[in-house]
Symmetry: C2
Subunit: 371 residues, 2 copies
Amino acid sequence: MDEQGTCVTTSCMSPIIPMVEVKRFIFDCMKAVNTPEEYAHQMADMLSEADYRGHFSHGMNRLEMYINQIQDGVCDNTAFPEVLKDFGATAWVDGKNALGVVVGNFCNKLAIEKAKQFGIGCVSVKGSNHYGICGKYASDAMKEGFIQFNCTNTSPLSVPTRAKTSFFGTNPFALGAPANNDQFLLDMATTTVAVGKIEVAVRKGAKIPETWALNDDGIPETDAQKAYDAAKLSPLGGPEHMGGYKGSGLLFMVELLSGILSGSKSGPHIERWGKLTEPANLGHCFIVINPECFAPGFQGRLEDILNELRSCPPVDPEKPVMAAGDPERKHMKAVDEAGGVRYVKNQIETCWKLSQRLKVNPLRPLSFDEN
Amino acid sequence: MDEQGTCVTTSCMSPIIPMVEVKRFIFDCMKAVNTPEEYAHQMADMLSEADYRGHFSHGMNRLEMYINQIQDGVCDNTAFPEVLKDFGATAWVDGKNALGVVVGNFCNKLAIEKAKQFGIGCVSVKGSNHYGICGKYASDAMKEGFIQFNCTNTSPLSVPTRAKTSFFGTNPFALGAPANNDQFLLDMATTTVAVGKIEVAVRKGAKIPETWALNDDGIPETDAQKAYDAAKLSPLGGPEHMGGYKGSGLLFMVELLSGILSGSKSGPHIERWGKLTEPANLGHCFIVINPECFAPGFQGRLEDILNELRSCPPVDPEKPVMAAGDPERKHMKAVDEAGGVRYVKNQIETCWKLSQRLKVNPLRPLSFDEN
């Protein structure tokens, strides 16, 4: 398994599934639980985009959880967000417990409109649900020529510097900017790693670095299984003397912009996503900037520095220097060339069961048509 | 020596210098090189604030360098920034090679005005010089009730993930927000540590963690002296497998918002500060947000979560959990109680020589009055 949880040997992999089929399946499943068509399309676009980029944890892998939440009544898949305050270049939004992706797209579009009108826009939202990968919102704004920042709080899984107990989530953010024929797209959790990476180390029986996770007593844990069981992630940097207090600060920064600004749930008060008993009430923040309001030629300068960065002499000639977003673009290129994505067999089984449960056509690999 | 380079034994420390005397001395030195009074006051406020907060590397320690640059004609201490573009909630500014602090204060005030008018403001500036500590600008905006973000590029000193050579500076940023009787103030370089910390390890003869710095070949270096000689800092996180690629992304993010957006010099094209042969032409970015445009009661919620964070059970009861900005507030309290700051004797000697060279009254310790 590689870091995204995909299989690197063909034995545990599915045949190739075309991206249109990935979208079709997600759309049909969402429709089957009475999601309005427009929202079902948005879900299909978001989850397929995650898989397309190689962030498999956030794509098809999450479909069943979204479906369960809708069927359990903790997320309202027919709701639509509402603007509570609109002032100048800002807006405060209530997500109304709608699908996180619907809330996210609404807020992002609003922030883009504000940026068109005022050069910058900032939208803060409460009452939302998991909104997919941050990078998708940045990517959408970048297509219109904007710089985009967005972030979200998530349920407690990380331990602040010096503490023993989880307090913040993995609190991810993205910052993206378009360049001529190029782009910069940073999409990162503010913990050192996501839980998925520890899971991969468990399967390999490998030790993990001391900057990844802690044991129950809040001490760095290098045994992957023990770290996985404790589920206490380190802030980016790891222990205090290795700069982890900066990662702690980043975790708080995201919480401040997501939860505290919007008035959603925050920090330790957020329920575990897989076990919600009431609406998640997550908060997000969307900031969009029009680079044309500043020095002319932004996209050319960004293209130049990206190329300069990639031209830095590498320590290992086999591992060239990359910019944020390059690994994802490499993955997307590979998917395009292959004609689709491959999933681990577990995922295919989950999809099969879901198709039976929701009475939708099963996920259909490319090879069914080809052979 | 502690991490800020101050002495922890009294033998190598100066007597206490009251903060008003610190400001007086900086003001007089700046005046002596024909700095307009208003700008000399701004420099005195910035540099004394750095020492007050315990960031001694950025305070009195830098006065001589500012003076030298003025006398060498590479920084124009009589110049004033000029707005090149003004659109909605944004402005693009040319710093005109004025004192970085004068440029920074001008841009921060402009961003605050924009936030008052539009809920958020964003000012990007090129043609600037070193502008002091990021935290001061955040602090000034917080006093008026705003959330503030600012960042700057600096001369190359850090090595991107996988590379052998320096490309970015330490690229610091601050994000601050006011709370009821409290505050959050994250002010951090996006490298794991600043050079000063390695210098301290050299003096102690201590090993440094592998996440701090690299040798000439771009390999993590744990020998403090070798790391100090190579002067190649690691992005926050350290090596790639420990999350350093995220720190690399943060370094780039700051460069993008500072240099690329403003059209200033950027990345490897920035000259070393101590050895400028032409104007530094640094770039900064200032974003100010009015939290009142979003969910009412922001400052109360922030106060609550700060207190919750500090109440987390600590691993070591002697080391309570802190929020970003707490160490600085502790330092300021100690300075207030002592009636001023103590400097290392080296610093006092430098100030003495400066007073002779510029023909200003020497720095006068509290004890001269007291005894």
